[in-house]
Amino acid sequence: MAKLQYERPLIQKLNTGTMNKFGTRTEYRPHTEIDGAKVEALMKEFGSPLFVISEKTIRDKFNDANRAFKTRYPKVQFAWSYKTNYIAAVCNVYHQLGSWSEVVSGFEYNKALKSGVPGNKIIFNGPDKTVEELKLAIENSSLIHIDHLDELYTIIELTNEIKKRPKVAIRVNMDTGIYPMWDRFGFNYENGQAWDAINKIVLTDKMDLVGLHCHIGTFMLAPSAYGVAAAKLSELALAIRKKYGKTIQYLDMGGGFASKNTLKGSFLPGTDTTPPIDDYAEAITTSILNAGFLEEELPTLYLETGRALIDEAGYLLGTVISNKRLSDGRKATIMDFGVNILFTAFWYDHKITPAQEFSHYTENSVMYGPLCMNIDVVRENVTLPPMKKGDHVVVHTVGAYNMTQWMQFISLRPAVVMVDLQGKAHLIRKRETLSNIDASEEMPGYLKEFKL
């Protein structure tokens, strides 16, 4: 007689009357495929843990965002925010879709150039641009978004040796009714700093002020804040037109739209609370259209949307290492991935589902990573079927920031694959090896030998 499939014995207390904060989700429904690629097969071929990117989701999300803005406003240009996920294959999907590049460092800038993005389609943000990087950006006619006065003076100096007029915008920070206000980057709108920078740029007459930029925050759940920001940038653009007769060619609204993740501490899942992209589009475009621009002088709307476009396209596959019972009776599940590669576990309660069929019985568990540290908590409380050593899970909505902010701490970083529109998986970043790490280390001669 064939033996029955084993499942760990489980007992769960039923709480009648109170809504179970964790039990109402359908998280434990198994997720066995990503766009037609079998999760088990992916892990067998590429190992565990493994990041998987759905090309289809990238394209669908982008097309949806593009539609939301283009049906409301005549001139829209997306620029892919490299820091969100700068694996070259990922960037190229966005470039194929028509996105320019938005970069915040020389490293990202050169990555975009290497991928073949024309210099004049790179937006260069960030407070730390070196003289060499600024020179390169001026030569390439990139859009330099000036963050502070020191940078402005450096550019003015550079125009003495480079016979090209830099194309610049200033980054503006402002009060949009959101707390805390991001006033660390760029020039403040309310206290006149922005005007100070604008006056210097126009009056020195060494560069072309082509745009105005803002990035009011990240994971912004209030589309109305974008309405306020777009109105203020429009007002500034119109005032520049009036004062100096110069037309501002674009308004860049930065990034920050929320993805469908669930912020820690929120009662409802992100799928219920995240505003649709249409709400952000409506707030922004209404503000600009109502600001009073002449039709032929309407600025192009630039968007540097990051997480809202890529988060849902990313999955992390992992394996159960062990189960434990904590001293207070809670179940603990230890996974082969932790906050070293899933940095966003600090911000979100990521949705986690099993990768294989189970019965419908579930239990609450705390999910830990494999690092020898207390902070290595993937989920404080997750409802899953009884998982045993070797079972697999799928962590959802991990496409943004993890594949750039991951740490090579204790273990090596995993491989990344992209599932194409036909369901075929392509390796787009190899699993790290010891020699990758060794390659950048040097050993002083006198330390080469030792005897134990």
Binding site: K3, L10, I11, R325
Partner: protein
């Protein structure tokens, strides 16, 4: 190395019994009339509770599971005792002192 108290505790769990008055339904619902608490258990958990109620010894229950399911002994050992501890924590075990 097992300490004496740990050894005693393990012996206690080895002879653990389930409360006589708890109600067990075939669909996996457990009701404890003395506390008013109800629980859901999965089929294998239900089977173990029924065997405990019939006062089957731990060794026999473990053997039964091994025969019935595709699983190794170490896992059964670990999961079985974990389950007993959960019964105890949920106040479903009978006072072992009296049973001894």
């Amino acid at each position: 190395m097992l300490t004496l108290s740990r050894l005693r505790r393990d012996q206690k769990i080895e002879t653990m019994k389930i409360k006589k008055n708890i109600a067990i339904s075939d669909s996996g619902f457990i009701f404890n009339p003395s506390t008013g608490d109800s629980f859901s258990v999965n089929p294998i958990g239900l089977e173990i509770i029924k065997l405990l109620k019939d006062e089957k010894p731990a060794a026999e229950i473990k053997k039964h599971i091994l025969n019935l399911y595709a699983i190794d002994e170490a896992t059964v050992e670990k999961d079985f005792y974990d389950f007993l501890k959960m019964l105890e924590a949920n106040k479903l075990s009978a006072e072992t002192e009296k049973a001894n």
